[in-house]
């Protein structure tokens, strides 16, 4: 069973995000980059399936050279090979353009399953997975929290949470599944794994290598334009309700909810 995992590199969740002077992008100088956590669930799931059924796991990333580090992390966890799609012309591309480039890179590979995160934790668009599935013409199953491959390896059953219930979806293979939190607990990259990862194949592909026209990518070609980035409003200070007794405090709380917050 050959599996492809699509991964994105995103700012560490602990990073303080600063908006760049152009008002449309963020300052990337001091950012620590990590593998998108949802994609990591995809890597883990792919490795578990590989351990059960055999086959190969190929990790595909897109972006500047630094994305290599995240691909290596996946290789250190146990993936077999990596592909980095990197090209200056890709800078500023929107989700659809990214999906097109990824599709070009994976369409001729031999695969039964594709995993990716349900969304990137940076832009929160959640579009690439479904777009790649559409462009490849294979089923897309979103937000998987449980994935089971049939014994004959012909179908996959995926659990997806919906409004407190679980939707169980069966699909033929190949299919694309986007991973949701709860799917698994990703393993650590072990030290022997880290050292082995260096010797695993990692190919780089430019847009030209993929037979794509650079003018369809980058900021200028965006269908979704970013007009402005603004920081979320600062949280206002909380209010401590004073009072001698619980009754007094409760009465004051009720009054404030009614008169100030106007929710009662």
């Amino acid at each position: 069973m050959n599996i492809i995992v699509l991964l994105k590199q995103v700012p560490d969740t602990e990073t303080q995000i600063k908006i760049a002077p152009d008002g449309k992008s963020i300052v990337t100088d001091d950012i620590k980059w990590i593998m998108n956590p949802y994609d990591e669930f995809g890597v883990e799931e792919a490795l578990r399936i590989k351990e059960k059924f055999g086959g190969e796991v190929t990790v595909v990333g897109l972006g500047p050279k630094r994305v290599t580090e995240s691909i290596r992390t996946a290789l250190a966890m146990g993936a077999d090979k990596g592909i980095l799609i990197t090209d200056d012309a890709l800078e500023g591309s929107d989700s659809l353009a990214v999906a097109k480039a990824i599709t070009a890179a994976v369409k001729d590979l031999d695969y039964d399953l594709i995993f990716t995160g349900q969304r990137g934790i940076d832009d929160d668009m959640g579009v690439v997975g479904a777009s790649v599935a559409e462009l490849l013409g294979i089923p897309n199953i979103s937000l998987g929290i449980k994935v089971e491959i049939s014994e004959d390896q012909k179908t996959v059953t995926v659990n997806r949470p919906v409004e407190g219930q679980t939707l169980v979806i069966e699909s033929s293979l190949p299919a694309l599944i986007t991973a949701q939190k709860g799917l698994n607990e990703p393993r650590y990259a072990s030290l022997p794994g880290i050292m082995k990862a260096k010797r695993k194949p990692l190919e780089e592909k430019s847009l030209a290598d993929l037979g794509l026209d650079a003018s369809e990518f980058g900021t200028e070609a965006r269908k979704v334009k970013i007009l402005e980035l603004t920081p979320p409003p600062e949280r206002a200070a909380g209010k401590i309700i004073e009072g001698e007794t619980p009754q007094e405090k409760a009465a004051e709380l009720a009054r404030l909810l009614h008169e100030e917050a106007k929710v009662l």
């Binding site: 990590i34 580090e69 290596r72 072990s190 022997p192």
Partner: protein, 378 residues
Amino acid sequence: MYFNEDHNALRATVKRFVDKEINPYVDDWEQSNVPLHDLFKKMGDLGLLGITYDPKYGGQGLDYWFDLVFLEELGHCKADGVPMAIGVQTHMATPAIHEFGSEYLKETYLKPAVAGDMVTAIGVTEPEAGSDVASLLTRAVKDGDSYVINGSKRFITNGCQADYVTLLARTSDDPGYHSFGLFVVPTKTPGFVVNKKLDKMGMRCSDTAELFFDDMRIPAENLIGEEGEGFIIQMKQFQHERFYALPGAYVSARDMIDMTVEYIRQRKVFGKPLIAKQVLRHRLAEWVTQLECLKQLTYHIVRMKMEGLDATREITMGKLFAGDLVFNVAHGCLQMWGGMGYMNETLISRKFRDSRLLSIGGGANEVMLEVIAKLEGF
């Protein structure tokens, strides 16, 4: 400048391990014990317990920069007793076996320690012999194919849970340093008695024991190196122990400073954040300067080790400097926390208690000074 992609990957793994497998549990462990078999097995599976050791025995065969990265990240543990327990396993009880042990000892005792299947302890200190190691009284007498050991050891980290203790004992009454043997002592041996877990001021999650040996018979092949050379071998092993303490010291002290700065930014006194006081900002600036010095000395030691040079002098200086520095930082930070710092619920309170040990354990500051003075010919 110092680290490559592989070092960074190891750093990420250890950081995550500390964040997920250690720090969420330390409050509980402080009330009880670190479950060492469980923790070490997880670390062994990740290849973290024998970073510089020979791959033949499960080690990774990597250089001291990897070791440094590992130790730096362990410095972020929220209770120093955890890295201390790990350090005993990797830098205090096993280096002598790796360096001087027979093939049998490496196969039987080093391999399982590296894999995390066995927990180890180092038995040097005794009631009558602390930093003055040569005055120890525990005695090993050769009897045919065995040694019979009698005596006791005190303040033995990991002592209650250990599967074996690397034990220094006297093999003859001749004065001088050639009257000792270093032994691997399985704790299941009849005559091995764990008296109790000791109640300490700090490092409370650490399992620190008092041990007794009553006609304990161990195979003669459990001697590490030659009889009579135990003291010399242990002095070499101490270099690993003392080096282990350095990266964690400057990382832990930096964490104390960071948490304190965060607190005094919010803490308002006389209408202004406490951090606006120049005297406090200068104090912080002085500490980070000293921490940078310690870090650079440590990096220099790593370079010396990489070149195969004897770094005894520098490691001793580092241990001395680190012992004072972490306590000064802990003490000074706690002062900035004021009454809150005196509450057990704040981490700085634990850090203060834990940090007191560094200038005592692994050779007291006064002994470090004596070593340096001797090496300098004073």
